[in-house]
């Protein structure tokens, strides 16, 4: 194997440009003659658009065009990607999501007009001159009131604020109810999974271009999956043929889910570019990001855990209201259902699981997948109620989990929530956690904290998640409107270096370093001779992009399969060159050879022969050395982990300080451990942000109170401890060729319940009767809980 293959902690080659200011993000592109777009956005959460007078604005200097919702009545809506069927068999409600609001505005920040001008300042000035007569209506904000349909509706035409009322698995409902009724012990917990604003460092940005000479469109945009954006724009919204539309997602400064989706601004700049014959650019302000990016989480949940007196789990029953905001974002219906309900058995051999989810329209920004997407919500509910149950039963939180863990010899394991887990070893992770986090030394550390007047607590968590959502056949039955494969083309160039075109999109994940490690490992070549091409629909095969920790498990597997095809063809060429049969050719470390002889030929010579096919068996073998593979996984992958954290609570102020955070994860085979550690650490920071700091809050009128970084608390370095990250306790994924499971979201899934469990533990040990505090566990909330 060459240096830098699978398992090597190779430094990220992309960091050279990122760390020296040479990254090229969408806003760094300014095509010749670019014009600028600014949006008029609603100041009210719910309002009837009575009139929009653009005449004064249109007469202002530099103004080129003004669009309102009226201009897009004939085009399609931005669709939901997953159809959910309610318990009563009714399909979910899908009100149209227009490019610009028409008739009504439905959340603060809902765009109802757009101005294109020669300069951004002129566009902004003209936006202020638009006279919109919008009659403010009562806002629907609180989910419980929304579900009751007692007042206003977000979408009058569907007659309800409930998008769907989903049961999983509906056939298990009666048995679960019965089991809970008869159980010797039932623990109930009501909790809120707080609403989050993704806050990628780079705000969204889109540039539309149109070439009247060819009729070709180009959209340069901040996207995690350019092919999906192209498909949605082409097939659903604007109807531009896919072959006439290139979508380019260059360097993207963070997505965390919020850039998976197609947004109306992208369609707007394309339509405007066509109308004006000039490039049109829009760059979101941070305020626009707060108001119009898809938010995350926002569940209100009641969970019940039924068990024997000895802590053996009998049933989990969950009732959740999930906020979808004012419109259905592309994966907003999949997130609280198939990415949440299916995980509600956790790591446990519980026989009965039932989940009911009501998705609710409100006059707030759309809510969709955000780092973890449904799985953090599932893990948080489950691992909080298990902790509460252990406390009620007087059991150790480690012991109650171990008692119910699926054991390592039980795989494949069919969970009571409908998934088949292929591999794992939760006891080994917990064994490792006990040692690494030094549970034995906790009491001494607690005593030391007590001397300083601080309450110390220890929180643990065991999580399982599901990555690389698949297979397409199954998700199709469950309502997905897309396939969930990915694709890669491996192109060996004549001089032997290699270009790999991938459907995944790197916006922080390090694909440019990690994917070449796979190819290098298989071909026995130097990874420095391999480059990745991504983010440009005119160059790459049709892939589904990057989200849900799928890139390595799905697209990496496509890279693996394409490379296998390269080896097969190269072997045939080598056999011809060595005058033998392919079956007799061995390939290792980049050399084709015939066993027992000194006959061999290197990979580079074979590549050259493929492109200069002199003395070549052209009748039976095509020239060239380029292969494409589409990989559709047989199952999800199931990363799992065991986390521990110790916190100190200042009993006078309620302030929580995280003393330690230990994360043991099973990601299967790790291609680049350094990148994986970085992914986990980033996830931990975001999970700790959710647990302690972040909260997106609307008031009763639907105004976003936490609408800027002055009120929305992002985690900073000094909010975080030094992390201990260990992914050595790995079990191989049994159904993909690399054996990898996915690591992008784990930290954000495993850390919130760990932190909250630790805070509740600290308070309980300090003699306070507190069994739950909703996130973010801010100083004021902790103090209020201690002084209720």
């Amino acid at each position: 194997m060459p240096d830098g293959g699978i398992g090597a902690p190779t430094k990220r080659r992309e960091d050279t440009r990122f760390l020296t200011g040479r990254g090229k993000y969408t806003d760094d592109f300014t095509p010749q003659n670019t014009s600028y777009c600014a949006f008029a956005r609603s100041q009210v959460a719910n309002g009837k658009i009575k009139s929009i007078d653009t005449s004064a604005a249109a007469a202002m200097p530099g103004v080129l065009a003004i669009f309102t919702g009226e201009d897009f009545v004939e085009v399609g809506g931005n669709p939901a990607g997953w159809a959910i069927v309610s318990r009563d068999g009714e399909p979910m409600k899908e009100p149209k999501r227009p490019v610009l609001a028409h008739g009504k505005v439905r959340h603060v920040g809902d765009a109802y007009a757009a101005v294109i001008a020669d300069t951004l300042e002129e566009a902004m000035d003209a936006v202020e001159a638009i006279e919109a007569d919008i009659e403010e209506l009562d806002a629907v904000v609180d989910m419980a009131s929304a579900v009751a349909n007692s007042g206003t509706l977000v979408h009058d035409e569907i007659g309800t604020n409930t998008c769907f009322d989903w049961g999983w698995i509906e056939d298990n409902r009666a048995a679960t109810d019965e089991a809970i009724k008869k159980a010797p012990h039932v623990t109930t917990l009501e909790l809120i999974n707080n609403r989050l604003v993704p806050n990628a460092l780079e705000p969204r940005c889109s540039i539309g271009e149109y070439d009247p000479g060819t009729g070709d469109y180009k959209l340069t945009t901040t996207s995690q999956n350019p092919h999906l954006s192209r498909l949605l724009i082409s097939a659903f919204v604007l109807g531009i043929p896919e072959n006439k539309l290139t979508v380019l997602a260059p360097d993207v400064g963070g997505g965390f889910g919020s850039k998976i989706y197609h947004y109306g601004e992208e369609a707007l700049v394309l339509a405007a570019a066509k109308k004006l014959g000039r490039p049109v650019k829009w760059t979101a302000t941070r305020t626009e990001a707060f108001l119009s990016d898809a938010h995350g989480r926002d569940h209100v949940t009641k969970i019940e855990l039924a068990c024997e007196k000895d802590g053996t789990f009998i049933a989990f029953r969950t009732e959740t209201m999930a906020n979808v905001g004012a419109y259905l974002s592309n994966f907003s219906t999949a997130t609280p259902t198939f990415l949440h309900g299916t995980l509600m058995a956790g790591n446990y051999t519980v026989p009965n699981v039932y989940v009911n989810v009501k998705a609710v329209f409100t006059n707030t920004a759309p809510v969709d997948a955000y780092r973890g997407a449904g799985r953090p919500e599932a893990t948080y509910s489950l691992e909080r109620v298990i902790d509460k149950c252990a406390r009620e039963l007087g059991m150790d939180p480690v012991e109650i989990r171990r008692k119910n863990f699926i054991k390592k010899d039980q795989y494949p394991y069919a969970s009571a929530a409908g998934l088949e887990y292929d591999s794992g070893n939760y006891d080994a992770l917990m064994d490792g956690l006990e040692k690494t986090a030094d549970f034995a030394g906790f009491e001494a550390r607690r005593a030391e904290s007590a001397k300083q007047g601080k309450l110390r607590g220890l929180g643990i968590n065991a999580y399982i998640e599901a990555c690389g959502i698949a297979p397409s056949n199954l998700v199709g039955i469950l309502g997905a409107r897309v396939g969930l494969y990915d694709a890669a083309t491996v192109r060996v160039n004549p001089t032997g270096n290699i270009s790999v075109m991938v459907g995944a999109h790197s916006h922080g994940q390090g694909h440019e370093t990690a994917f070449p490690q796979i190819v290098a490992d298989m071909l026995g070549v130097d990874p420095e001779t391999i480059d990745i091409v991504h983010g440009d629909t005119s160059k790459i095969p049709f892939g589904m992009g990057t989200y849900g920790s799928r890139s390595l498990a799905v697209c990496g597997s496509a890279v693996f399969r394409a490379t296998e095809k390269i080896i097969v063809k190269a072997t045939a060429i080598a056999a011809h060159m060595l005058e033998d049969e392919p079956d007799n050719i061995d390939f290792s470390d980049g050399v084709f050879s015939i066993a027992g002889t000194n006959k061999s030929v290197g990979f580079g010579d074979v590549a050259l022969k493929a492109y200069i096919p002199h003395e070549y068996p052209i009748e039976g073998l095509e020239p060239g050395l380029e292969e494409t593979a589409f990989y559709d996984p047989a199952n999800f992958t199931y990363p799992s982990g065991a986390y521990a954290s110790e916190v100190e609570v200042d009993p006078e102020t309620g302030k929580v300080t995280i003393c330690s955070m230990v994360a043991l994860d099973d990601f299967g085979v790790v291609v680049n451990p350094m990148i994986v550690t970085g992914q986990v650490e980033g996830g931990l920071a975001q999970g700790i942000g959710q647990a302690l700091l972040e909260n997106s809050v609307y008031d009763d009128n639907g105004q976003l109170l936490s609408g800027s970084l002055m009120d929305y608390a992002m985690p900073r370095a000094d909010d975080l401890p030094s992390f201990v990250v260990d992914h050595s306790h790995a079990t191989r994924c049994n159904h993909n060729p690399i054996g990898s499971k996915g690591c992008g979201e784990a930290g954000a899934i495993g850390s919130p319940p760990t932190i909250v469990n630790a805070v509740v533990d600290a308070l309980a040990r300090g003699g306070h009767d507190v069994d739950h505090i909703d996130m973010p566990v801010s100083p004021s909330r902790v103090w209020a809980a201690m002084n209720k």
Partner: protein, 260 residues
Amino acid sequence: MYDFDLVIPSSVADAASAMKADGAQALGGGQTLLPTMKQRLAAPEVLVKLSDLAEMVGVSAASGILRVGGATTHAQVAEEGAAYPALAALAGNIGDPAVRNRGTIGGSIANNDPAACYPAGALGSGATIITDRREIAADDFFTDLFETALDEGEIITAVNFPIPDAANYQKFDQPASRFALVGVFVARFGDAVRVAVTGASNGGVFRWSVAEEALSADFSASAVEGLAVNAGDMISDLHGSAAYRAHLIGVLTRRAVQSC
């Protein structure tokens, strides 16, 4: 940001006459004003830049007074304010390095943000605010939220801080902005004690006179045990209730006394 004219005066006198223009606005370090203008929430027609006026920059100590020029940055006060350690520490914990290298004491005090640190330092020290026209006692200067005794066009040229025998500032961060959710500045001059509170009150920075009396009689943390401000006057928002803020005032006052 809307268009505006920028005036760069060469003296305080020049600045004062430039401030007479219609729609003129003094520009200190711009750490509040410029973001507000970028969001089009403020639209001054003329900005008068004070930050490079040499006569308004600098820190000096003499006769028990620390004099800070009105255009002196927080970073410079943190660096050069050793004669008044509590004030230097306060300045060194405002915002982040970028803010401290731009933001000025005059800008902060003139803006009188109800959660800013300097108003507590000035009021707690019994400072004198010196302008191009007069001297104003801190007790008379901070009149209400974002309101001061400054007249139209008046420029803060310096702030004189009497250096106390002991002082300490305790700041409890608002988690997002890292302004003070509550900040308490305690200063002892002989037997006289001043306690100024920022971040907490609907009326902006204020002196906690009950605590001052108790501490003047007995300068110990136990002297303020059991004392409480009226929560009814306190701010209640996303980050803390009025009751929580009132409680923190007591906690931070005790801690400040202990740290003196």
